[in-house]
Amino acid sequence: MGRDLRLVYQQIKYQNKIFWRTPVAAFFTLIFPLMFLVLFAALFGNDEIEALGVTTAQFYAPALAVFGAASATYTNLCTATSIARDEGILKRVRGTPLPPWIYIAGRVGSAIWMATLAVTLMMSVGIAFYGVEIVGRTFVAAVVSFLVGAAVFAALGLFVASLIPNGDTAPAVTNATLLPIAFVSDVFIPVEDPPVWLETLGNIFPLKHFVAAFGDAFHPALTGSGWSWSGVEFSELTGTGEYAIGLHIAVMAVWGVAAAFLATRYFKWEPQADRRAGRRRRKTQAQTSDS
């Protein structure tokens, strides 16, 4: 077991190395969300938004940090894994004694590490340049929320990778799912009084819960340290509310467990070109065979 843990560590380092040598991925994960922060602060000014009870940056920094974390895990992990499969790298790994779970743990661990960097960078820039405050009381709940969220989005990334045929489709599929959901999940716009169906839509998907569980931790006017089932949204009238992560974590966990289960079932290690050729042949000749 000690040896296996060392292998996990080594695989994480190995994937990190590859990540840093793929500048596009590094840019989209780390720099791109920062550009939004700079842009929003410039566009809206950094005054307090009354309906939210916090400054523009105090609201956006954690929301965009979560967005960066989601793209590090969901988008990147899915794309990188699918491309590695196309290139036969996953198949090659399967032919070695490296247990599959260790290889996947290496990829997931590296993705979560990059998510950690993205969040740290975003919050640091917020603190240094935009007067973002950290609330000590909620810090642990924020860290837990981050870890759960990152793990869940990694599972979702692997789930999508197990469905799509090749790496070319990965960025399209992940962006076409993540971006629209981000718009109903308080990432880019804090929606006030949205139509009920939009709100419900946001509540179904895990991103809004990730943003709420992590982001509300940085709301100085909210009470509590997060460890209860459901909280109270900030109200302009009372000037306060309550921070709670229970329900948010639960919704995310349901998504994560389902995604992880399906991904383990359907994940493929061989490049899919051969399989599709095989399937086509099988179909035309109406014969069954394994592959």
Partner: protein, 302 residues
């Protein structure tokens, strides 16, 4: 003891019988080559033995494991070079080898392996900058880094320049002398001739012939060919036995015989009597390639 025992192995893709009932035994310490045209079923068979593909039917025993279920203990004892090169492009050569070395319980020395495949000068460059043949050599390095008892090499030297191929042969000879078992596929007859203790020719998913490179297809028993060029000699003056063998356009005389020694004596005596030098005089046995082409004649693109 046999390292590989395969009985009645079949793999069907729908109607296509990619492998159609193969029996194969490879002894421990043996170098065994699979020959056959494109699409004959070599890769499919080898990948079943590697544990990459699930067979439709048949028994496969490799080092006492069923490859389909052998898992980690099995894979710790084998090395694989796939036909398709698959490398992490952004890594450096030595990084890739180090990472793979850590996966195996007893791995070979990284520097030594880099030396063996002749990549010393490339050890710190990115894999994506390697030439095709150099990438193949790196694949070979990754295949042997775990010090495996059995090595599968699917067209290991395709894309190698002649000197790199010689070097790879040296490497394989060296592995043989360490007692390793090697199953390789190749399209190069000289490679099979040089390396293999035994070869099998496979076509349309079946083994059509099996034996030593020297004796396969009755190579050692068949007729020998004696050839020489006509030169300035008048065809009318040729001895009886040679006249029929003259090709008028190329002016080459070809004689098939079961007794080349006796024939040569008659022929050379005749030539010496007349003071003639027989140009390009040769005695040939059918080459491995001749035998291979005959065996696979009807199964092009099997």
């Amino acid at each position: 003891m046999a390292a590989i025992t395969v009985r009645g192995l079949a793999k069907h893709y729908g109607e296509l019988r990619a492998v159609d009932g193969i029996d194969l035994t490879v002894e421990e310490g043996e170098v065994f080559a699979l020959l056959g045209p494109n699409g004959a079923g070599k890769t499919t068979s080898v990948e079943i033995m590697e544990g990459h593909r699930i067979r439709t039917r048949g028994q496969v025993d490799v080092l006492g494991f069923d490859p389909a279920t052998g898992g980690r203990p099995y894979r710790e004892r084998i090395g694989i070079v796939l036909q398709q090169t698959a490398l992490e492009r952004e890594l450096k050569v030595e990084e890739a080898i180090h990472t793979y070395a850590a996966i195996y319980p007893r791995s070979r020395d990284v520097d030594e392996v880099i030396g063996i495949v002749g990549l010393e000068e490339k050890r710190t460059v990115r894999i994506k900058t390697l030439s095709g043949g150099q990438q193949r050599r790196l694949e070979l390095a990754l295949g042997i880094i775990g010090d495996p008892d059995l090595i599968f090499l699917d067209e290991p030297t395709t894309g190698f320049d002649p000197s790199a191929r010689r070097q790879a042969w040296g490497l394989i000879d060296n592995l043989r002398s360490l007692g390793k078992t090697i199953l390789l596929t190749t399209h190069y007859m000289d490679e099979a001739q040089h390396l293999a203790d035994r070869v099998a020719v496979i076509a349309r998913g079946r083994i059509v012939e099996e034996g030593t490179p020297h004796s396969i297809g009755g190579r050692h028993e068949g007729e020998a060919t004696v050839r020489f060029s006509l030169g300035n000699t008048d065809p009318e003056e040729l001895p009886e036995m040679a006249r029929a063998g003259l090709d008028p356009t190329t002016e080459v005389i070809t004689i098939l015989t079961h007794t080349p020694t006796a024939l040569l004596r008659t022929l050379t005596a005749w030539a010496i009597d007349r003071g003639i030098e027989l140009d390009h005089l040769r005695v040939e046995r059918p080459s491995l390639e001749d035998v291979y082409l005959r065996l696979t004649k009807d199964s092009e693109d099997g």
